[in-house]
């Protein structure tokens, strides 16, 4: 009981979306309708192609309002509905404008929404904005660009691969999340090339990274390399993982211990420091 969204009907809500065309725009009312739409989608309601297309067209009007919450709800709706219509591209211009605008609070979310509606053919049109965004000073923008680029490799790997220099630069960003995202994307771009991956891991092992998440990623990459490599326990990769058992972050210790315990042919000698790492963690949880 007392769920105001429990009995909303999809047809009614989609009809209500017609008020998006009215001027002046009422941000609160329009925001409420978008919330209902997102709630319905979240509950598993199916929106037809025509309905989605109509909603997209109506939403373009909402960009005329500068209301922050309304804009954020537009981005969210765009992402939720991106795959439901072939006409999502109509908001491209509005999103590109926001992505390069001065309102930082819009930029990261605009990047993510834009990439959700972008495919191989349209990506080339925004390529230079993406490269700039990847190395942007604002951390949320950089992260948004890096993670969106990762998603885009599913359909446009060749295009994203051209941005490898920008991605590499972001690996030394001082945000712990940007580092993690950059390293993850860089590995994804390089992983078919074993030598390049090895060099990359060695470089970051030596220089160290600030981010405990990036360390976890490095441990996984190193484990993967070790799996395919027979140099065994003398490998600097193994020594690196083992050294992570002494990292100051629990997250990293745990990752290193898991990696060692899950290695094929793990002997008692290797297991002991891992297990004491685990005991520490089990005690801590």
């Amino acid at each position: 009981g007392n769920n105001p969204y429990a009995y909303i009907e999809r047809n009614v809500v989609l009809q209500e979306a017609r008020i998006f065309q009215q001027t002046p725009i009422n941000p609160r009312k329009c925001g409420e309708i978008l919330t209902k739409i997102i709630y319905l989608i979240n509950q598993g309601e199916i929106i037809s192609t025509n309905e989605a297309t109509e909603t997209f067209f109506a939403m373009t009007k909402l960009f005329q309002s500068n209301d922050v919450i309304l804009r954020r709800m537009c981005y969210l709706t765009i992402k939720e509905m991106a795959k439901m219509t072939e006409n999502a591209f109509i908001v491209t211009q509005s999103l590109t404008k926001d992505m390069n605008g001065r309102e930082d609070i819009f930029r990261a979310a605009a990047v993510r929404a834009l990439c959700a509606i972008t495919d191989h053919s349209t990506l080339q049109g925004i390529e230079r904005y993406m490269k700039q965004a990847i190395v942007d000073k604002v951390h949320s923008v950089s992260s948004a660009a890096l993670v969106s680029s990762l998603h885009l490799t599913k359909q446009a790997f060749d295009v994203v691969k051209r941005w490898v220099n920008e991605v590499q630069e972001s690996c030394s960003n001082d945000s712990i999340m940007v580092q993690y995202h950059a390293l993850g994307l860089l590995y994804h771009l390089r992983k078919k090339d074993r030598l390049a991956t090895s060099k990359m891991v060695t470089k970051f092992m030596k220089s160290g990274m600030k981010s405990p998440f990036a360390y976890c990623m490095l441990i996984r990459i190193a484990s993967k390399l070790l799996e395919e490599d027979d140099s065994g326990r003398d490998s600097p990769l193994f020594n690196f993982i083992e050294s992570c058992l002494r990292n100051k972050h629990e997250l990293v210790i745990y990752e290193a211990a898991s990696a060692i315990v899950n290695m094929p042919n793990c002997s008692a000698r290797e297991l002991a420091p891992a297990v004491s790492g685990w005991s520490y963690e089990l005690g801590a949880i």
Partner: protein, 182 residues
């Protein structure tokens, strides 16, 4: 907690670590659900999973469960249950950091009134919070204060009648304290 030899080989080195985020009420009904891969591709399968997760966790005191080949970390409060789901091989502390961020962000948003009625009143901001924390299965942010910085709420104070007596007294006490310190 998973010990033992991993028969599937080494965990893939990927940014895609989160399979789903759920917020259920105390009947196990879905309030928010984001699934980031196709482990449960249909609504029916999702609902079955949610039922299973809820049944296994809502009376339990622990924070972690393993079911259907997934690692589930969770936290309940009053009439809400928060879940973060990863693969069986996923780093549990990583999943916990996402859960903590989710819970703390909602806690901050709702000014410690983490209950269904209040959450539904601000469900738009809750959708935005989830969106800030995980994007397509990738962890974006684990710091609740940074998440809240990106979420703007309409200037809407919780009306006096909605605060509990305790809260009113506490805030009055705080105000008196501050005015004495000045």
């Amino acid at each position: 907690v998973k010990l033992g030899i991993n028969m599937d080989g080494v965990l893939e080195a990927s940014l895609y670590t989160i399979k789903a985020i759920l917020i259920l009420d105390n009947d196990g009904e879905r309030l928010v659900a984001k699934y980031y891969d196709d482990t449960y591709p249909t609504l029916r399968e999702q609902k079955l999973f949610e039922k299973n997760v809820f049944n296994k966790t809502h009376k339990s005191d622990s924070e972690i469960a393993l079911l259907e080949g997934q690692t589930v970390v969770y936290k309940g409060n009053v009439d809400l249950f928060f879940y973060v789901i990863g693969s069986s091989q996923e780093n549990e502390l990583m999943l916990m950091s996402v859960l903590t961020c989710l819970y703390d962000s909602v806690n901050l948003l709702l000014r410690k009134n983490v209950e269904k009625r209040i959450l539904l009143r601000h469900i738009d901001s809750v959708f935005l919070i989830v969106d800030e924390i995980v994007d397509g299965g990738v962890i974006m942010q684990v710091d609740a204060s940074q998440v809240l910085d990106q979420i703007v709420m309409r200037g809407e104070d919780i009306p006096l009648t909605e605060q509990t007596i305790t809260q009113v007294l506490q805030s009055a006490k705080d105000q008196i304290k501050w005015s004495l310190l000045k």
